[in-house]
Symmetry: D2
Subunit: 152 residues, 4 copies
């Protein structure tokens, strides 16, 4: 699906500003990576505070970064007065959350006026090793009123 | 679907021991609630460190507690030498993550030898108010070898 | 979640009229079962024309009847000038599609003004045997304009 | 993800033979398209017998062809004595099922010994028009014993 690859600077500023208001992103040490129209990346370091019983990154953290990447990818294509609300996502876990850092990439595959559908991928990265995909997400993002935040 | 409601004490001990090894659960302040054969509850307090841009609990944390509740519900029905691996989950978000605490309940709806399917629910609780369901999960849990942790 | 259990006769008539316009339902021999506010049932006979390679009912037909049951459950709670559009569903397959007939039940778990979330179940039935659940669905139903059928 | 693109003739024969045993595929007029290692296509004509209430292809038929395409994509990477079982799929509907024919493409994104994860896409095609994607699927395919067909 073709998308505009040049993003208006105000849109990027808006994504970065919304990202900065997500306490959860700061808490897990997340940084915004590339921000393009319809495609956003988020990176986190491995952090032993967020592991499951085998010492791998918890799937909930994987879900958190790729849901957020998908949400911002959707927001980047919305009008300035709109806000974004995740209504559902599905995550297939492809490999253990094992690596030095994790990169989540969200991409809009269906840009709609009321509903956007996104595809998300998460990769584990370790210096000197090829990146390995750990998760695949599909998500629905509803376009809501930015002033009221109401969904209905 | 009928399930054994009386859980062998060793099984409960095993769930509690595995829970204790999840750093992520300690980091978000999670506690195990009821542990029954095929049904497990997890409770967390609201914590402003884990909010999204509107100040609600991030959907990734919602996913984390209900995925974990589903995983332990599955583990409670597995043989002692088995371990559990989430292969996929889907989360429908029903209401904002707004409340004093959140209770996730996971329940096995298809106990299988290789694969268990679970249904999870999350409720926001606030003193003096009725609980409100915030999320609905379906998840697949694979039974893996507890010694090697290999999935294939 | 509380729902109105008494359904206005015009709503039931509307569900039955919309069902009658679905060619696919006639082609697979589907009948409407119970129609309540927020909960609708559909029944089909086993039909060897719709089997997969092992001789069981194809998962696509299972998806068809439970998606439709969920859609009508949502429609039953919508205003008279609205129409319903499935935006996504997930189906977990719990047992083979083996039986004399199949009953799908769709139920609204989140009645919203713009989006309804439904839970669906499918049961295989054989005379003289207990019913067996074969599938579990969660689905999102968007409320759209009944006149234009536009979704955006 | 790299995959072997040259498919052993016996594997292709096996996919075509399994396809031929699916009555549901014959009933809806489906044909196998390209069969590669890890990627399989299925095409159906638009058929008014399988429409929903607005005259578009029913989502259950869309699910049927893309689930089947994903299942055969998985089968193409399995050992000769294995069989394939769909354990779950999710379908996001991107556009109405409107066109002269529909092409479903299934692709393995995680080839595992016990579990394969597939990504599926469906496109509506009309002569003289660009193809339009109507659906996106993610699916889990379990590798089972081909002799007994048991899943556990």
């Amino acid at each position: 699906m073709r998308q505009e690859r040049d993003l208006h600077p105000q849109i990027e500023a808006r994504v970065r500003e919304s990202f900065a208001r997500q306490n959860a992103m700061a808490t897990i040490g997340a940084k915004l990576g590339n921000v393009r129209a319809g495609e956003v990346e988020i990176v986190i370091p491995f952090d032993p505070r967020f592991t499951q019983q085998h010492g791998f990154l918890h799937a909930g953290i994987t879900a958190m970064i790729v849901d957020t990447a998908c949400g911002f990818a959707a927001l980047s294509l919305m009008p300035p007065d709109a806000a974004v609300l995740t209504t559902e996502f599905k995550l297939n876990l492809l490999a253990p959350g094992q690596g030095q850092r994790f990169l989540a990439r969200g991409r809009v595959v269906r840009p709609g006026k009321k509903l956007m559908v996104c595809l998300g991928e998460v990769f584990a990265e370790t210096d000197g090793m090829p990146a390995k995909q750990t998760a695949l997400m599909t998500a629905s993002m509803m376009v809501i009123d930015g002033a009221t935040g109401l969904s209905g």
